[in-house]
Assembly symmetry: C2
Homo-oligomer: 485 residues x 2
């Protein structure tokens, strides 16, 4: 059985050797997904889907607490509807899948499978909004969308993916901007607190905005390999969509006005972010808040009298405290089990054998650092349950700290193009902080000459110098630059 253990661990490519292959190995070996015969469309397997269910449950709670209601729009958008907002159709038409036939009948107006649902929400708003009394509407939906991507990777870029899309509509521009920022903050809080993933909050540059938005806010995270990943976006639309879709309401002053809109979304991409932020060469490392199994109990010498009984007692205690716990009493060896649950990223492993029982204790091992801690077992097991909860907290704090250190180590403040090139060459990919004049030409040139594109204009600005890193003219903003997933 020790052989199996070695074989399994050996089967993952080292992340230092080939990060992309390491990623692919994990999504398969941890049984998160399986490929299908349609390129870019995957099966999300139970273990992967359970992570998404936990993400949904927590986020949905946060949405409802901030006053949002859940709706469900159709998956089809008539071509004529998609074309109503000019920038929007230009952005999305090239990547949509077209339904041309229903049964044996050819459709008059082709339907695209939604790549996003602004147009559907606008059509709906125009039907249900008449007066300021009908505002605001704070909506969200959990659905899948389709974008016909050329290059695909599980979770990171797939042709169909799961997401939530919030859509809101307000009396005033000010209210809509507040909403846009509020939801970006919800995303940031969710990522940091529950996914243990530090993020930079900021605004996208003009060239990187969502098709049809006045402004796009984003949270950006840094992966283990130094590449950036956009983890969530929140868009302020102004009244552009309202004008295109003729949505008007009678105001408090009894005048016809155009309302102001927002939309915001996160996707199953977050699962990719979890893998690349916290994973290691033994497999997945899951943040406790979204781990399908938070604690696995592995009995040692389980055939000996009393061992399974004791394991089951620990199980019952943790379960009664609301912890997602599992006992593995299969006939695989403890070594095989250790490797299996490390691969699956279970945050805490409890080992219990005859000696432990004799000493009234068990062993707790935290996944991220393999730290072993003896926990004593008293009569009620209350202090045991408290100690396990504390271990789960320790995993969350530990992996957050590691991710933050990785990001800090890989964030380079640069004043010249040469400094950017050198920092990346010397230290590897990462975030580059550099000043920018606001011109798209400079944005393009930085990307062309150094390989890093603008990620966002962070809310936390620093004055690194007075001039643009590229053209030397007066700088307007500090920008985070990076290579992106």
């Amino acid at each position: 059985m020790a052989k199996d253990n070695k074989k399994m661990v050996a089967a993952i490519t080292s992340m230092d050797e080939d990060f992309a292959q390491w990623y692919t190995d994990i999504v398969k070996k941890a049984e998160l997904i399986e490929y299908t015969s349609v390129k870019g469309c995957m099966v999300i397997r139970p273990y992967g889907y359970a992570i998404w269910e936990n993400i949904q449950r927590i986020l949905d709670g946060m949405f409802k607490e901030t006053g949002h209601e859940t709706v469900c729009m159709p998956m089809f958008i008539p071509e004529s509807l998609l074309q109503k907002e000019k920038d929007h159709v230009e952005g999305f038409a090239p990547v949509v899948a077209w339904v041309t036939h229903g049964g044996s009948e050819k459709l008059e107006d082709r339907l695209c499978v939604r790549p996003t649902s602004e147009t559907l929400f606008c059509e709906h708003y125009s039907n249900i909004i008449h007066s300021y009394r009908d505002l605001p509407k704070l909506y969200n939906q959990w659905v899948s969308v389709v974008r016909w991507e050329k290059t695909t990777r599980p979770f990171l870029r797939s042709r169909e993916f799961l997401w939530q899309e919030g859509h809101t509509i307000h009396e005033t521009a000010e209210e809509a901007v507040i909403e846009t920022e509020r939801m970006l903050n919800v995303y940031a809080e969710f990522c940091e607190k529950y996914l243990a993933m530090p993020v930079v909050k900021g605004m996208k540059t003009e060239s990187d905005k969502f098709a049809g938005a006045v402004s796009t806010y984003a949270i950006e995270a840094l992966m283990h390999d130094g590449k950036a990943l956009q983890a969530g976006t929140s868009h302020y639309f102004g009244d552009g969509f309202a004008k295109a879709f003729d949505i008007q309401y009678t105001s408090r002053e009894n005048k016809l006005e155009y309302p102001h809109q927002t939309s915001w979304g996160v996707t199953t991409r977050l699962i990719g972010a979890i893998i690349m932020t916290h994973g290691d060469n033994n497999g997945l490392v899951l943040p406790p808040a979204v781990a399908p199994v938070q604690v696995v109990i592995v009995p040692v010498q389980q055939h000996k009298e009393g061992v399974l009984d004791e394991a089951n007692k620990l199980y019952e205690k943790l379960k009664s405290c609301g912890i997602r716990v599992k006992v593995d009493d299969s006939d695989n060896s403890p070594g095989w089990k250790f490797a299996e649950y490390e691969m699956k990223g279970v945050p805490v492993r409890i080992e219990i054998g005859p000696k432990d029982i004799e000493n009234k204790q068990c062993v707790a091992v935290t996944r991220h650092n393999r730290e072993k801690l003896f926990i004593s077992l008293d009569e009620t097991l209350d202090s045991f349950a408290a100690a396990v909860s504390e271990r789960l907290e320790a995993v969350r704090d530990g992996i957050y700290q590691s991710a933050l250190e990785n990001r800090e180590k890989r964030t380079y403040a640069c004043k010249t193009m040469d400094e950017i090139v050198k920092a990346l060459a010397d230290n590897g990919d990462g975030f580059v902080k550099a000043m920018w004049c606001g011109e798209e030409a400079c944005e393009d040139k930085v990307k062309e000459e150094t390989g890093v594109g603008s990620r966002c204009i962070p809310f936390d600005q620093e004055q690194l110098s007075d001039v643009c890193v590229c053209c030397g003219k007066p700088a307007k903003k500090m920008v985070y630059w990076g290579k992106a997933y």
Copy 2:
């Protein structure tokens, strides 16, 4: 404001006058759905979606308790994959929507939007099942599917609808049959206990089976107008799909064997069933278990000192007991509010005004029978909360009883074709119980001559006579017949 009240109630067509229009009025006025520009595709609005969320939560819990895991398959099926099982493709190809282009590129193999996912599950099984150790797999997914129906009605028959589809695969035929029956029982329990909707459990005739199934089990409910509605189905597939998709496993005896499969589903159609089982001329009547708002508190003379405070105290108490409760302190009149929440089917209304407070009581009105009950308010409000819970139970029991009585009143045991025609003519649509020889020709003839088709062969058989109602040859089974939604 009294005018508004009258206007709103008057705006619903009476169910006795035009049942179909009454139904359409309710789905719109109770804000369950809104139409879109794509025929047969609807927006499920917050109030409608919240009912679905409650259905999902309860059913998902029942699925997980019976050992099922949640997965997510892609929405696209390549034409070549759909064609692998002969009966299945014949059944579904005529009603699917076809994607022919991705972006600007024409697809080599057309993709259909899933009408159901057997083929996708089979492809997946063939990738992950190798040994008896990999069996059983007990899967479920919550997704939407598309069927290009000609005639569409909200919830009852739409081109896109939400559903869950369970898919399981087993070592033996026996295990698979047990699973098929287990899930039918889960559906029946769910409908009766939580939707307060009595159902008949039985088996579909050969001509009415799911495309590709060996046998199809169903639960059938009777709507208020005497038409039948298939509320859920559970299919046993034998090893037909396994053979078509070449799914084999190494058995305990080290031989290659074909596994046995099932699938089962319920849809947003259940919301249509709720409307037509429990609704009345004042609007929706919701079973408390799935009502988005279980209790609405309407303050009377709310501007008077202490009224809103007291209403809020009652709210806090019920909320702390896990009851979904709302206070409506808007400036609409109590009369308007009464009509509004009756339209929306809120099971219990609490009225509280200055006189009630003086008398240390409030009024509880149950939606289905408008019964008024005074509830006394003690210091802790514990007995108040208990009384409200009891009222919610009373609504569930009351509407179940009414639905059962309606079904019994409208179930006609008939021995001849003439008796069928007469029973329907005299008493209106309903379930007809009659004996059947098992021949499709007789099934067709009954439908042609009396208008009622076979709904199911119930598990609870009765021997009404020895001969087929149609041909007079020896009868094999008693069948429920009816007109179906």
